[in-house]
Subunit: 290 residues, 2 copies
DNA sequence: TCGGCCATGAAACATTTGTTGCACGATTTG
DNA sequence: CAAATCGTGCAACAAATGTTTCATGGCCGA
């Protein structure tokens, strides 16, 4: 059942790609990677650049269900056609229902989130980063959906501060880690309404241990923001939909990591390079090829 | 006066327009108003649509200083070519210093990310959500920084599809899960450049198992996007800073979950309520108080 | 090992492309 | 008023485009 999602010619191409002969795969990849040239330049031109036979393009088009290269190109051209600026009257009406209410929902969501990002107060982020820069040890805590933010922050910070950063509860019960917090260390807690007990406990533990606390939250009245040295605010409820949005929190986390890295100067850069070299040596990544 | 700013062929055209013969003015205006078609369709096609003589296009091109229509079109094509992703050497330069370079950095970052969100192609998200809606089982895979996206998606989907969603490698080696993938199931892989081998392996396993594949990636040429039934694109390199941005990927993940939930109708709502009730019973949340 | 099949590149094909020469009418100039 | 000039459409042209055919070479099954 269910259509194979032939939304764009490019997706049709991708779907069919693995089952094609090798040469057609090459050509197909080339088209996917250079679809702009595919729509503007001639088949023979493309063949010359791609180092392939012109006929391969025709065969590719037929292989994925078009009558020929011309038809494939026409489809690519239409798919690429710039969206008209919405006539405003059209956008207002018919929201919510209709055949593609989904698309409207997502569009609204993205717009709302995009609008929310510039409203994030920036100076506290820079200040918090300076605190992180001086820290000997950094604990990060986030629960439920905020766990994703915590892990991203943990990951990025560890790229250039490997031994000094860790997630609360990563290697055992939270309480073990909470007991290990020392004065002068830093605890970052991420959370928004409704707040989990666990995150509040971390915040309290930090306070009791004499550690500095950075709260990434949706409100200054959030329980984990009480007594925090830095509160970084984002708008969780800014976008439509049923779940609060984490886009702002992610943006903050990334900014925090970026500024902290930049404060680290050459030392941080060096450590990042080491980490990357290690990953490359372990062949974590797919090597580049054209 | 100096040169009249011949930045783009279109402005050259506009400048020369008033001094041209009437018919050429018409054609010139048509080209200016339909420059996308001018780059993609043939001269004769355009002439038919514009209701003009094909020769007029050649004459127009010569009148504004080009050797012929081909050269004008080439210029228009280049002017329209989508911006490349920053070549990395350029991105590093500039900014960097000054009293509050940090604040500037973050502000730029947030702005760039905000600008990137509306550029996310929405229809594929809605389509992918429909596929998810029909799925019996959903696997999610993301490695390194993309793990955070994978976990967020996993979390949100499990709120209303508890038994049907799981992260690849969550409870053992990846390979155990990869062997368990069945035809008709769905695999979601998140990744951007540089791509990890692990994510590519998951995508291949999905393909081999006959499962549907949804790729959330920064490019249609991403290895895990090959053969994917749906590719959801975001701009990882859109923002300044040293790490790619995951904001777009997070926004996509959230949108995907939101649409899938809305497709679930009352059944999904019911299950969400059950989950929330269970969490409340376990007193996960801090009770509201003012 | 043989025979059929498929993938692939080169060349020939008909079609379409951009261009140019020509004729006709309008406009300007002496 | 006549002659020259310019703007314009039409049609023929050579060049290019996309397609098809054919011969070749490799691969797999019998």
């Amino acid at each position: 059942m269910a259509e194979p999602a032939k939304s764009s010619p490019l997706s049709e191409l991708r779907i069919a790609l693995p089952s094609l002969p090798m040469r057609l795969q090459e050509v197909g990849r080339f088209v996917a990677a250079n679809d702009y040239d595919a729509t503007t330049r001639s088949m023979r031109d493309l063949a010359a650049v791609a180092g392939a036979d012109p006929a391969a393009f025709t065969r590719l088009a037929k292989a994925i269900g078009y009558s020929g290269w011309d038809e494939l190109r026409a489809a690519l051209t239409e798919a690429r056609r710039p969206a008209q600026i919405a006539p405003f009257s059209i956008r207002a009406k018919g929201r919510r229902h209709g055949p593609n209410a989904d698309v409207t929902l997502v569009t609204d969501k993205l717009e709302a989130e995009a609008a929310g990002l510039p409203r994030i107060p920036v100076p506290p982020i820079a200040e918090a980063a300076r605190t992180l820069h001086d820290a000997k040890r950094i604990w990060i805590a986030g629960y439920r959906s905020c766990r994703s933010v915590a892990e991203l922050l943990n990951y990025e910070l560890r790229l250039f501060r490997p031994e000094q950063v860790q997630i609360v509860g990563a290697s055992g019960p939270d309480d073990l880690d909470l007991g290990a917090i020392r004065p002068g260390e830093i605890v970052i807690v991420i959370g928004f309404m409704p707040y989990t007990h666990a995150s509040v406990r971390v915040a309290q533990a930090a306070y009791r241990a004499g550690a500095k606390l950075i709260a990434i939250a949706d409100s200054v009245t959030a329980p984990m923001a009480e007594g925090a040295d830095h509160v970084l605010l984002f708008e969780a409820a800014a976008s439509p939909g049923f779940f609060p949005s984490l886009t702002g929190a992610i943006a903050i986390a990334q900014s925090l990591a970026a500024v902290t890295f930049s404060l680290g100067g050459t030392a941080a850069k060096k450590r990042l390079e080491n980490t990357e070299a290690r990953l490359a040596a372990a062949s974590t990544y797919v090597s580049e090829k054209d």
